[in-house]
Symmetry: C2
DNA sequence: TCCTTCGATGACAGCATCTGTTGTCATCGA
DNA sequence: TCGATGACAACAGATGCTGTCATCGAAGGA
């Protein structure tokens, strides 16, 4: 018989999500979260470096994208490799339901939105050297990653709205939209 | 004779920048900044909502970009309007010297980098409705703004490195680079 | 000249986040 | 059986940030 319940970290994460949903991020203290998980405030900080991080632990998405990009066909354009990785990523992680709960909580708190942006930037920072290993110069790699993220954001937002389309379909569609945006079709006077 | 020295906010900003350069962001306390500016800690929070904001006060850039976009020629593509605004913006504000100091301090602290990203996101959020007033649908507007920001980041980074080129030149050049990236030129086997 | 009002600031108290340190108990392996 | 390790609690403390009230000087009118 173990002295402590197992999965302390998971218990903290679930308790935090529920408390944030119920009372908001700012109005729930770390001590409350820890108590709800049967731990002390100090133990919380053993698992998470700060209060916000309880919603952002783990970087499976980053690892997945980096791995996919590095494993991609060398004949592919850097942008193609990134978009292919993005297209298959979001369906793998995050059961849609908790993804929606998390998104709502994050959108409701500026502090959490801030951290969310930072996590996206971390993914971008990890993707740049991955492209470098494919022979892309760093400045260019950063640029391509930024463009891929712009496409990914538009595609993901559509994916959350209309549930019938595949993410990779929407990514391809958005990439085509980018082409039109950059080189607009000839305007005909009507 | 005024009871207090004038420009308390400016004194706080200058003192903060110097202390951050000297000791780092985390290792300088709000009380230190206030003391260096001849004020108390409490007064600091009257001017800035939090410690990080002392480096980010004012949103002249956001206001400028929004104004430029709204005043742009209606015949211009949304992306063209954004890029034209960006091309003329960064030279107007920020004497290059303090911009470099600020950038170095921000890059040295994760907390400040986080806030910096957030400020960029705020500018993006302000630009989306500005494009909306030009008749662009919101989702699309967000996308175009993200792309413009990607271009702007690459161009600005080049502008800081090579000092001889104009920002607007670099923006145009980077936009061309985007065209090639999206629709890569036909590869010839050598 | 006196008085009133007003705005900027100081002084102080208080809560929350986050850190360092130490002690305690189970579990594991020798 | 014993020492090492790991998981946690307990306590103390620095710092960020907020609420509240007193204070001082300036500006303006009577």
């Amino acid at each position: 018989m173990p002295r402590w319940e197992s999965d302390a970290q998971g218990r903290l994460e679930r308790a935090a999500l529920e408390l944030f949903e119920k009372h908001g991020f700012e109005r729930t203290s770390v001590a409350q979260i820890a108590r709800a998980a049967g731990l002390t405030e100090r133990s919380f900080y053993r698992y998470f470096p700060d209060k916000r991080e309880v919603l952002f632990a783990g970087n499976e998405l980053e690892a997945y994208l980096v791995a996919e990009v590095e494993a991609a066909d060398p004949d592919r354009t850097p942008l193609e490799a990134l978009l292919a990785a993005v297209g298959t990523a979001d369906e793998i992680f995050h059961p849609r339901e908790t993804l929606l709960r998390r998104t709502a909580v994050i959108a409701a708190s500026p502090a959490l939105a801030e951290r969310d942006l930072n996590k996206l930037a971390d993914i971008a920072d990890a993707l740049v050297p991955a492209l470098g290993r494919r022979g892309v110069e760093p400045g260019k790699a950063r640029f391509v990653v930024d463009v891929a993220i712009a496409i990914s954001r538009r595609a993901t937002s559509r994916w959350l709205a209309e549930q019938d389309a595949t993410l990779s379909e929407l990514v391809a569609q958005t990439a085509a939209e980018l082409c039109e945006t950059v080189t607009p079709p000839v305007r005909t006077v009507r």
